[in-house]
Symmetry: C2
């Protein structure tokens, strides 16, 4: 069986050169930008409301009214009719979030008339269920707000919307008068966190669950075992976590806590134990499970490794029977993820016993052996009352009809599975560790491509999708900034109407949602500053920050080749602080786009370019004797050069003259060179300057001086 | 008895007009800047070390060696010889802090040779004691570090120093080779937090205790009751916290937790229950304690109020006997603070019973009645095994000789008390809520002024001092930024040699210490960004930030007159986010000072001034429909004007010409007007521009163009 390290690398459209990928994405964006404006904007325009609705995901229907509801210390939310502990806790969390978000301490006073009434018909399943009713209707008026939902989960989705509606107004914080009717497009809207390659403690899981709830994601896919660590306490097979985790595992009590925490937020928890490959950490304690003799040690590097479970011994299945039984009781969700991806077959090929076993069972080749293994595992999963999920590779003849396929390969795989009656979820295009722009992920739709040709019944088998965060190059400290805010854009793809695709609107709302995540505890913005300060040992790090704001961190494709990484290499360098996408650069790109019409934009642009041009002189002294800063020397010089090129292009633009073709060609060439990854980041500053050069070239000039 | 609202306002030198205060302080600084350079710098220079030692407080003796100790995943700290639970916990905290500060995950591996050995002679008192040995000696070499101390508390002080030594180097994080001998100048180095006027939860207390330990403060003075709230659970008199706290009080279990938390960090906890004034919150549940009939309600405004305990009824003392007994058992520290300040005597004067009582006991006037009350209370405090502390007002004839006087009035009071054999601590000059610059507090010495004339025995009665944070205008969200980093400068005044007074060195080290507090959990830097983002509802708030960076928040003297504040007014406006001191402005002031010699400084200055000049155009759109931003309109216009004046002055400077006298006079007048508090902040940006104008005036020109 030919296996390539594809999952961690790139599918058909996940190009190795991130720059090429970005350009393609950018072409796609431009195209999409011309497309249909989304329903909400129309609704707002129709109603003449001045409110900028910063909701993410965008609701299915929103009609802005007149006036607004003031949020003051007396604000109170209460249930009318049905209530239960989950709903009460959700309302208490809303009050806490509003209090943080506004800085208004809410006075607990049950005498006060509630400003937000929550009317819920029933509790729904106390543990959230695939396909349950998550719809809600929210009416806000100056006199009060009214949220109606069938289930508590639906009410929680409405509470998340209410929190996003709150904004500063003339007299304080307020929620605009509005009528919203909302429901999810897909029932399965997930986030996968790989806690094996780098461990994250429970509190980091918790805050990510809070953020998921804030953007209406409803499945937490917990990738709990891999070559680099086995992360759950097993009472039955204690050497799994004792020897396979470096002491970094979740106790069963902690697992129960996380499951309850998620449940309280309307989020299902699906554990993944990846087998038969990606299993080195299992074999440290139980080498007899492997297809070759041990001993084994926890893997410290990244990639696909040979250790694989022995599919030929009954003892393997007996072990898995016991293990799956124990985990099935620990995790209440009816779905159970067995991984099944990237099986490296060297151990199988080298084992006379396994070769003999294959002959005996007429299994031709590793793929057939893998399918046999999956059928045996599926029977065990079923025995313990669960439905199996696996990655693309488990989709082989003989699979039980209820199985869910998680596809990293693309919509074509899902379409093929759906035609054969299997359900599926898409993760292709949603790999956050690739550090693609949010717009790239936003442009991927589970029902696009080959899936667009499915009939309605088949299409309904595509349940949704999951954003995936593989943790080779992220740690407990950096995971927040790698997942957020981009996962919010993916959440919108899963929740909102299919035709909500306007990129400018998405980015505007995503940046607001991003700042909103501060108030649910996500550290992506807070840790940016402190990680940059760290690089200069507490000295003013402004110059490092200017460079960071002009840069974008690369993902796995670049980093795996950049240096010899292992799990012991610290993720505390510039690249680890830098964000995957630069808001600063995006704003300058917009400024270039509008520079012809608006002299304020020209001034903004000039100030930005000048700051870049001047920055290297400020950064220089910080690099003395400091390895963290001195690795940025050439990047910093490049930023200065980019700034200078931009300033000269701006002179042409302001003079209304085209620049000499030769000069432009020369600068373009210089920009191309400077856009190559350097210190594992990409100089995003190149992009607006390239736009400027296009604008002042005879052939490409689309901006005339009018301002 | 004539009473003025002096404690909350100003002592002799706490001028009402903050601008005047700042100017006076600035004159003082200039004088001090010429004074002796401090010992540490000399030591470093002598040894030719290139290391910039960013220690705060500065140690008594430091000699820099050659090379440095690398801090890597293998870093381990361990005790050699004596150890106990407190020391083990302190070493574990150091490891955690280093891990956060460096981003280097420390691998727990007892096989690894410890890089830092802690050799401690004895545990010392398990609860920290006034005057205990806090000295330590720290030797760092490339091969390892060695910390020696007599007591565990001393070892903790050395561990705090070690954490501050760590800095980024060529190959990663490192601690420079050094020999340090260190001990405190004063045994009583405190921080007082008023949790009555605004409540702060236990976690906020905890992180402030961590910060105190980081800068070697050793007394947490907990101001637990006042007119606006009674904050401790009393089992004996439950209506105290039930009716006097709005539900915001510490349970006895929480008190025990905080005391243990502080003890583990070598910090004593001294409770203050302020009597007989400042007691309205007591009377909500127990009106019979007051000198006039109730009912009473929790006070919602600020100031000095009439409700005062009835000194004439034996029932008052019986109640206090029971209460002090209960609290004396809850708080292990031998010192017990009874407040005793600002007694408003209207109720006493109006009460026939109290007047009759005074006549009967030959108490002439309210002051004598207060002294009688104090003697009675002192007997109760003594009965329950404690030594009394009180504010200046308790210093009256008949006071027990062991009493400690806490002075908000100044060194003269302390000197007078010391001459009569009483011990004292200074809080005059250390009121953080006045929002004075760190340099102002730093310039106040407990042994200056009248205290300088004391003989050695008398001088030794001055035990130290306390920084005080009164919470009329601070909340759980803002308290960190009001206390830190300025309290670190005060901590240095209490710990370091008296002649460590160089302001430039202090500010450089304070800013590093300030960023270091990020890693012990203080939120002063992190909440700055999120509070500013909040004002714009998640829109990019860069323009608001530029304005905030150029401003300084005013303290109680300005805010109490600025609007009608009550405890229900939210502290979520611009002024609440803005810091008491602007690092940005300080850097531009330094740039003006060096502008003649250095063209890079000129460029920095020009960029800063231009940003100010351009900022109003960027802020304008954010103010639309937003009350939080629109209150900043005139401040923002002023910043633009200040920027423009500065740019014109810079043109004169660069041309090497003096500016016309008349023009300068006009601009100075404009600056004076713009420096008046506006939106409750002061436009600090005025200061460097005034310096620039001085530089280009014929009479004041001290900077010539050389760059």
């Amino acid at each position: 069986m030919a296996v390539t390290n594809t999952r961690n690398l790139s599918g058909n459209r996940f190009e190795l050169d991130s720059r090429v990928g970005r350009e393609e994405a950018s072409v796609k964006w431009t195209r999409r930008r011309e497309m249909v404006r989304w329903a909400l904007i129309v609704a707002v325009a129709v109603n003449g409301g001045a409110a900028s609705l910063n909701l993410m995901p965008a609701p299915w229907k929103a009609t802005v009214g007149t006036g607004s509801l003031e949020i003051d210390s007396g604000f109170r939310v209460a249930a009318k009719g049905y209530s239960d502990a989950r709903l009460e806790a959700a309302m208490a969390r809303l009050a806490l979030r509003i209090s943080r978000q506004t800085g208004v301490p809410l006075v607990r006073n049950k005498q006060v008339q509630p400003a937000l009434l929550v009317e819920c018909r029933e509790g729904g399943n106390p543990y959230p269920t695939l396909g349950e009713d998550e719809s809600y209707q929210l009416d806000v008026a100056p006199e009060g707000a009214h949220l109606r939902a069938q289930t508590v989960t639906g009410a929680m989705r409405g509470l998340a919307t209410f929190a996003q509606l709150i904004e500063p107004g003339e007299k304080g914080f307020q929620a605009p008068a509005i009528h919203i009717e909302d429901r999810p497009r897909f029932p399965w809207r997930g986030l996968m966190l790989d806690v094996s390659r780098h461990w994250i403690p429970v509190e980091v899981v918790e805050r990510n669950l809070d953020a998921m709830a804030a953007v209406k994601l409803n499945v937490f896919h917990w990738h709990l075992s891999d070559d680099q660590g086995f992360r759950v306490e097993s009472l039955r097979y204690p050497k799994l976590h004792q020897l396979g985790s470096d002491g970094h595992f979740y106790s069963q009590a902690e697992v129960r806590h996380v499951v309850a925490y998620a449940r309280d937020r309307g989020i299902r928890v699906i554990p993944e134990f990846d087998i038969p490959g990606h299993t080195t950490a299992w074999f440290v304690g139980y080498p007899e499970l492997a297809s070759a003799p041990g001993p084994y040690a926890i893997e410290r590097t990244w990639g696909i490794f040979q250790p694989t479970m022995d599919p030929s011994r009954e003892a393997t299945y007996a072990f898995l029977d016991g293990f799956i039984g124990e985990m099935a009781a620990l995790f209440p969700d009816p779905y159970f993820h067995i991984g099944g991806d990237e099986v490296e077959d060297t151990q199988w090929k080298n084992s006379p016993a396994i070769r003999a076993f294959a002959r005996e069972h007429q299994l031709t080749g590793s793929r057939a052996i893998h399918a046999y293994f999956n059928r045996r595992v599926q029977a065990l999963v079923k025995k313990h009352g669960k439905t199996m999920i696996g990655w693309d590779e488990v989709f082989e003849p003989g699979l039980e009809s209820g199985t869910v396929i998680q596809s990293w390969r693309g919509q074509a795989s899902l379409a093929e599975a759906a035609r054969q009656g299997y359900r599926g979820i898409l993760s292709y295009g949603y790999y956050l560790d690739h550090m693609r722009p949010a717009g790239f992920h936003y442009g991927i739709d589970p029902q696009d491509g080959a899936a667009a040709a499915l009939d309605a019944r088949q299409a309904s088998l595509i349940l949704g999708g999951e954003a995936c965060m593989w943790m080779e190059y992220a740690s407990a400290e950096t995971v927040d900034s790698r997942v957020w805010p981009r996962a919010a854009a993916i959440a919108e793809r899963f929740w909102s109407p299919r035709n909500v695709t306007d990129l400018q609107s998405m980015y505007t709302r995503m940046e607001v949602a991003s700042r909103g995540l501060d108030w649910v505890g996500i550290q992506h913005r807070r840790s940016y500053a402190s990680m940059l300060d760290r690089l200069t040992g507490g000295q003013t790090s402004d110059a490092v920050r200017v460079l960071a704001d002009a840069s974008e961190a690369t993902g796995i494709e670049v980093r795996r080749d950049a240096r010899k990484y292992t799990s012991l290499v610290h993720l505390n360098r510039f690249v680890d602080a830098v964000r995957p996408e630069s808001e600063t650069v995006r704003r300058l790109e917009q400024a270039v786009g509008r520079a012809g019409a608006d002299s304020a934009e020209l001034a903004e642009l000039r100030a930005g370019l000048r700051q870049w041009a001047d920055n290297d002189a400020r950064l220089g002294p910080l690099a003395e004797g400091n390895g963290f800063v001195s690795e940025l020397k050439s990047l910093s010089k490049n930023l200065a050069a980019v700034g200078s090129i931009g300033l000269r292009a701006l002179e042409y633009l302001e003079a209304g003259k085209a620049a000499p073709e030769e000069w432009i060609a020369e600068q373009m060439k210089a920009l191309d060179a400077m856009e190559k990854p350097n210190a594992e980041v990409v100089l995003a500053a190149v992009r607006p300057v390239r736009m400027l050069l296009n604008a002042v070239s005879i052939t490409g000039n689309k901006i005339s001086k009018r301002g």
